[in-house]
């Protein structure tokens, strides 16, 4: 049986792409935790993160935040 040639490894562009994605994800997570960016479904509710624009209580009393699917 002929020897199988070795796997050439992960291409460089995939490694660079992975690094970029990791950095972007870490940035978004960091910014979300320090509250400088509104992010996540909770940002439109009264208990949303501190930096976000919060709906006036008059609206929030009338409209509950969306849950689950539509309809």
């Amino acid at each position: 049986m002929a020897n199988r040639p070795p796997y050439p490894g992960i291409p460089r562009w995939v490694k660079v792409f992975g690094i970029i994605v990791t950095v972007v994800v870490l940035l978004v997570v960091t910014m979300t935790f320090i509250g400088s960016v509104e992010h996540g479904p909770g940002r439109h509710t009264p208990s949303g993160d501190a930096g976000g624009r919060v709906l006036p209580s008059s609206i929030m009393e009338e409209y509950a935040p969306p849950e689950g699917g539509r309809g």
Binding site: A2, P11, E38, H39, P41, H44, S58, Y63, P66, R70
Partner: protein
Amino acid sequence: MIMTSRLRKFALAAHITLAVGWIGAVAGYIALDVAAATSQDAQTLRAAYLAMEVIAWYVIVPLALASLLSGLVMSVGTKWGLFRHYWVLISLLLTIIATVVLVVETQTISHFADIAADPTTSGDDLGALGSTLVHSAGGTVVLLVILVLNVYKPRGMTRYGWRKQQEERRNKEFG
């Protein structure tokens, strides 16, 4: 199962139409999103939120799901496969992530539209709703990355793809 040439061309045309249509629909949505983020006019805000919901539910979500489905058909029905090449695998993962985030975000959009549809909601309250610009702009970047990957098809096989290729070569050589 590899598709015939005629079927492959039809599937490719459908996939390109759906995927590029998704990007175009998001571009239209962003125009409304910018209006929602910047306008102070109650009528503009109300119209923008209502139109955003219609575009999201009836254009963007169907195009996203159809693009994902047609992409799966193209991968499985051609020599590229689904897990053999990094560009296909990464495109698939990004498309799934973009679709999931989109479906979650439509809940927020519907919530905004429900508030905007109420004639008693004041202009100030509408102005306080905010926008979904972070997601729509981020989604556009992801879609453009997928587009570039699909056009350039950068080289690079996964370990699974490499093994399959070697097996096929060996089968050809030894019958």
